[in-house]
Every structure is written in structure tokens, then in C-alpha cells.
Amino acid sequence: MSESVLLALNIGWGTTLAIKTVVVLAFIPAAALILGYTFLLKMMSHMQSRLGPMDPGGFHGWFQLVGDGIKFMQKEDLMPAEADRRVFALAPAVIVISTFLVFVVIPAGPRIVVQPLDVGVFYALAVSSLSVIGVLMAGWASANKYALLGALRAAAQLIAYELPLVLAVVGVVVQAGTMNLQGIVLAQQGGHIFGWGGIGNPYILTQFVGFGLFMVASQAELTQPPFDMPVAESELVAGYMVEYTGFRFLFFFIGEFGTAFAFAALAATLFLGGWAIPGVHGTTADVLGPIVLFAKVMFVAFLMFWARFTYPRFREDQLQALAWKWLIPIALVNILATGVLKVWVK
């Protein structure tokens, strides 16, 4: 997908854009389905001794996801009489678009990246927080008190956890000296651990505090347990999604799992070395890169979903306290320490 390949094939600018859009658009549902199938259906069933999702279709319940899809298609498209119709219809799209925009900058190989940006990290974190607008739109337009409560909780939470998310990444940016995601991967690949460059220098070794903060904050950004107050199904039923049915609900579902994949990919790129394999460059890396990245993404997603299935949820004030009193001060200290060490060690 790189510029050089496309230029060599002599494809025009418009066609290039179209191809890129189609690739990313096709990737989001695929990512959501992979995570939904692997973790939501299979891992959860094993962890929780569930029998249902392991049954349909014979082997390991492979048909469950297809059946769920068919179910969503069949549902009637309901819209509350009091709803703000345009906003209500637009909200799921806004959420999916924010996910879509994150995938644009994540590199899967030395030349496999949809659009390399010099402000990649900044851009990815900025567009990922666009989803809060969709959430607020959904909650407000539903004309439902539960949805409104959920949307307001979501807005407060997403804004509070945006800060630790960004601050957690600053350490990586300082260490790599670039905001370009491709540059961060290359910096990790070419790094040295006390002069030994056998496996490069994945930043999880030096930025383990940042990695922990990033995982906690991204869990909150995804509104997953223990931070699922906005959708708390035991009190708000489904929070801001409560009035959505059928295909519109499926959009929220795809948005949720697509974003989970995007955050896992970001964590893998920033802290685990992304697509890089030590000593592999060029075309080989282009072929192996996506596979390596995928494996790392699945590992990070496993951690995310493991926490999701284990913990109860924080109350709104408790999770705000966690963000402002603990995560942000720790992140600031981490940035300071990284900066001092970077200057001092060099």
C-alpha cells in the first residue's frame, strides 16, 4: 500500500484514496469479528463455564457468531417516537468513523501503512476520542433517561481518561524522539539493551509504567469493565445504546470491538515493537510484519479482555478519583523520569 508501490503501478491519486478507504473499511468489521469471536465468545465461555456459546454448529460453537449476525439483521429498526431522528441515526456512524480514522496510521510492515503521518501518535489519540461525540449524540437523541445518564457518564469518563492515555504515551515519544508510529517501531527495532541489540529494545522494558497506564486508560476509553459505568447493564440496562436495535446496535458492537483492536494495535506498536522482527528487513518484513503485529495485538487484547471478565465496575466518582489522583500523577512522574534519563544517559 505504500506510495512507492502505488506510484510504480501508475495509479492516480483518487484511485489510491479509494483503495485505502476500502482496505480500512473492510478491516474494521474483520477486526471486530476476530476479537468478538476469539475473546467474547470463546475465551469468555471457557473462563465462565458457559455452555451456550460453545454449542451451536458442532465444533467449538463456531456458528454462534454467524447466528448472532443473522439475529441482528432480522431485528426491526426501531426509533423512539420522541427521538431526534437525524442525530439518532448518525450517532453509530460517528463512533465507527472514529475507529476507522485510527487504523489509518498503524503500520503493519516497513511499507504497509495506509498513511504515514509525522504526528501519528498525536493523530491516533486525537481521533480515537472523537467517539465521545457519538456517545453523547446517541444518549441525547434517544430521549431516554437511562441513555442520558449513560451518555453523561461516558462523556465524563472519556474526557478524564484521555489525559492519562496521552501522558502514558509521552514517555515513548520522548524515548523514540519521534511521533511517527513507523519511526517509533524502527527506533525499537534498532534499539539496544545495554549495548546488546539482539531483540532491539521494545519500550515495554523501559516504559513499563507507561504500558500499564496505557492499558488501564484504554480500558476506560473502551468503556469495558472495570470502567463500564456508562453501559452498566445492571443499572442503566445498556446506557447510551439502550434504544438501539438491529443493525444500528451492530454498529455500536463493531465500533466497540474495532476500537479494542485499534487500541491493542497501538499498544503493540508503541510498547511491544509493532511489526518488527529483529534482523528482518525489506520485503520479508513486509510479509511477516502483519502476522507478527497480529500476534502481538491478540496478546494485548487478551490482557484487556481478561481484566474485562474478572473485575467488577468502579463507581463514577471512584473512577474519576483513580484517573485524577493516581494515573495522571504517576504518568507525570514517568515523563519526568524518562526525560531526565534520556538526557543523562546520552
Binding site: 458457559r50 472495570p226 471478565f309 467488577p312 466518582d317
Partner: protein, 400 residues
């Protein structure tokens, strides 16, 4: 210290209210109409996942803070007190084990015992042991469900599935003896219908060990979880005098520090609790966590009691000599017992027919939820859910 909670507290119910100064800003805000946000009235239920049934809770909210909460009951009223007047005593057990459907067997025993008392019959020892064992098994079944359900209401899905899974240990045992998982209808006046099946004692012993293991699991997964503690500690505190004044009973009252258990302190209603070595658990705090913790310990205690009874099970008949057509002589009797949910009682008034003339049923959940308007004031919406879950009521037990 033992206190009979039915005695009124000196000075009546203490009136605890939200400080009106907290809402002083609203008085000034009324000048500017745009700033006066007003309160929001939120309707929790009758169809709401947290009310596990058809309890309706009308909540007045300021932001996420509850100003007033009104429980509205009666959506599930089935008129059992009237229905039993048209049935014979053996038929009535079919109805009353649907009052608290999660521990049906425990509902049957006191009713049958009340009828036995009027007739002057005593069940043979083996029948009394079987009744006690099945009562404790149904307590285990309903508490294991609570231990998981509470996790679900606090936001962890996993314990709920563990609760449903582990409850099967007790339900399978009940099914093996009675043939019914939920509605055994197994008690007869003068004893029980059948003896224990072959191999049941061995199965029961193994299952009780699994129950003890799963209690450890719940202690580690839920009660030991820091987030769970944060969500339940000092939330929904029931002061002991106030709880007693409202008629809160059972584990809910014991977790407010009142050492009072009808199995030990009351008439043993024909069961064998006085022959067993067991302990009444209390917790001084009275909050949601205390209610969870006390039920966790009581599940363990019940499993240990069943193990003891398996060792001490006497041989002999399972039915006393009873006439073919059961006619209960004239008279009236009140039997109250320790149901898993709290104090349950039957007042039977008999005029000598094959069925009772009038029956009054005192069900535990009805009194337990009566404290909700007091308890929910000033709580946050998420805490409303945990308080509801920790009080652990069954809608059939509220509405009868």
C-alpha cells in the same frame, strides 16, 4: 449481645434526613429559570434487570444522587393467602413452595410443622433429619445464587455464571431425593414422602466439599476484590435498632450485628438444629459488604451442618401414623422459622375441616424491602443497585 428485634426501640424510628443545607443553592437558582435544573424522576422497574422480578422503584434524582425512593410492590401478587383457604392441607404445599421459589423446600417445612402441631403428630427422627438436610440444601442453593448475583450487580459477569453452576450441586441433590429441582412438594403431614435414594449420602458428601470449595472461590474472586470492597463497604448501612424496628430479619439483620437466628433462638419447628454443632455469624458493620460476607459464611456453615447430619443420620421410619383423610382439629397456631431470606411465619386458623379457615403468611422479603425508602435516600444510582442486590429479596416472597 442478644436483642429481640421485634421489641420497639425506645424513642421510635430515628429520623435521619438529608441535610437541607445541601440543597440551599437550588432555592437561589429558582430566580434564574434556566439554571433551575430540577429533579429527574427515574422509573426503575417493573422491568429492570436489577430488580430481578417485578419490583418497581420510583426514584427522584438530583444528578446521580437519590433524593427519595419509593418501592411499589404488588405486581406479582398471586393471592396465596386466599387460595389456600380452598385447598386441603396436602395440596397447600404445592402453592406455598412458590412463595420464595429459590428455596421452596424451606417454605414447606414450617407450614407442615404448624399443621402437625395442631394435629398433635410428631415426625419420626429420620424424617426430621431429612427435612433439615433439604432445608439447608435449599439455603445453600439460594445463597450460592446470591453470591454470584451480587457480583453481577456490581459489574462482574463471571461470578454470576459460577453461582448458577455451583448452585446445581445443591439442586441436583434436592432433585435426586424429591424429583423436583425447584418445587419439591415433598413434605407430608407426619413425615416426608420418600426415603433417601441409594448412594445419595456419598454424593451429598462430595457435593458439600465442592460447595465449600466454591465458597472459597467466591471469597477470593468477589469478596476479596478491592473494587468490590470499594463499591460495598459503608454503602447502605442498616443501623441495628432501625433494622429491627423495620422488621428486617435473617442475614440482613445479622449483618447489622444482631446475634439472632430463629434456628437457634426460636422454636426449632421440628428440625434438628439443636443437635448440631454450628455457629451464628454476625458482622458489626451493617453495610452491603457485611450482608455479602455473612451470607458467604452462612453458606459454609450450612454445608458443614449437612455434613454433620450425614454422619448422624438415624435409621427408622420416615412417616408417623397419620389418618387417611387429614382433618386438622380446631385451633390456631403460629410457627415462625428462619427462611434463607429471613423470618418466615405461618399463622393457621383451623375450624376442623380438611383445609385451613384462614392463613396469614409472614414473608421475610416484604419487611426487608420496607426499609428501602430510608436506606436509599442520599445514595448514588449505582449504589441503589448494590443495596437492592445485597438485601436479597425474592419478588414472590414480597408479594405472595
Amino acid at each position: 449481645m442478644k436483642v429481640d428485634p421485634r421489641l420497639p426501640t425506645p424513642g421510635g424510628i430515628p429520623e435521619v434526613d438529608i441535610d437541607p443545607m445541601l440543597y440551599r443553592h437550588l432555592a437561589g437558582a429558582a430566580v434564574n429559570v434556566e439554571l433551575d435544573t430540577g429533579d429527574m424522576i427515574l422509573n426503575l422497574g417493573p422491568q429492570h434487570p436489577a430488580t430481578h422480578g417485578t419490583l418497581r422503584l420510583v426514584v427522584r434524582l438530583d444528578g446521580e444522587r437519590v433524593i427519595a425512593a419509593d418501592p411499589i410492590i404488588g405486581y406479582m401478587h398471586r393471592g396465596y393467602e386466599k387460595l389456600v383457604e380452598y385447598r386441603t392441607y396436602p395440596q397447600i404445599t404445592t402453592l406455598i413452595n412458590r412463595i420464595d421459589w429459590l428455596s421452596s423446600f424451606a417454605n414447606e417445612v414450617p407450614f407442615i410443622f404448624a399443621a402437625e402441631q395442631l394435629m398433635g403428630i410428631e415426625a419420626p427422627p429420620r424424617a426430621r433429619y431429612i427435612r433439615t438436610m433439604l432445608t439447608e440444601l435449599s439455603r445453600i442453593a439460594t445463597f450460592l445464587l446470591f453470591l454470584g448475583e451480587m457480583g453481577l450487580q456490581v459489574g462482574a459477569i463471571t461470578p454470576a455464571f459460577y453461582g448458577f453452576r455451583d448452585r446445581e450441586y445443591a439442586l441436583n441433590l434436592i432433585e435426586a431425593v424429591t424429583g423436583g429441582r425447584f418445587h419439591p412438594n415433598f413434605n407430608r403431614i407426619g413425615g416426608v414422602k420418600d426415603d433417601l435414594p441409594w448412594g445419595w449420602i456419598n454424593d451429598c458428601r462430595q457435593s458439600m466439599k465442592k460447595v465449600l470449595d466454591s465458597c472459597d472461590d467466591f471469597e477470593n474472586l468477589v469478596a476479596g476484590n478491592p473494587i468490590f470492597e470499594q463499591r460495598t463497604r459503608s454503602i447502605g448501612i442498616v443501623p441495628r435498632e432501625l433494622g429491627a424496628a423495620y422488621g428486617v430479619s435473617g442475614s440482613n439483620l445479622r449483618s447489622s450485628g444482631v446475634d439472632w437466628d430463629l434456628r437457634r433462638d426460636g422454636d426449632p419447628y421440628g428440625l434438628v438444629y439443636d443437635e448440631l454443632d454450628w455457629k451464628v455469624w454476625t458482622h458489626p458493620d451493617g453495610d452491603s459488604f457485611a450482608r455479602y460476607w455473612v451470607r458467604l459464611q452462612e453458606t459454609r456453615e450450612s454445608a458443614r451442618m449437612v455434613l454433620q447430619m450425614l454422619d448422624a443420620l438415624p435409621s427408622g421410619p420416615i412417616m408417623a401414623k397419620v389418618p387417611r383423610i387429614i382433618k386438622v382439629p380446631e385451633g390456631e397456631v403460629w410457627v415462625n422459622c428462619e427462611n434463607p431470606l429471613g423470618e418466615m411465619g405461618y399463622y393457621i386458623f383451623s375450624k376442623g375441616a380438611t383445609g385451613p379457615f384462614r392463613v396469614k403468611i409472614r414473608s421475610a422479603s416484604f419487611s426487608n424491602v420496607s426499609i428501602l425508602p430510608w436506606l436509599l435516600r442520599g445514595a448514588y444510582v449505582p449504589d441503589v443497585i448494590t443495596i437492592l442486590a445485597s438485601l436479597y429479596f425474592i419478588l414472590g416472597d414480597i408479594d405472595r
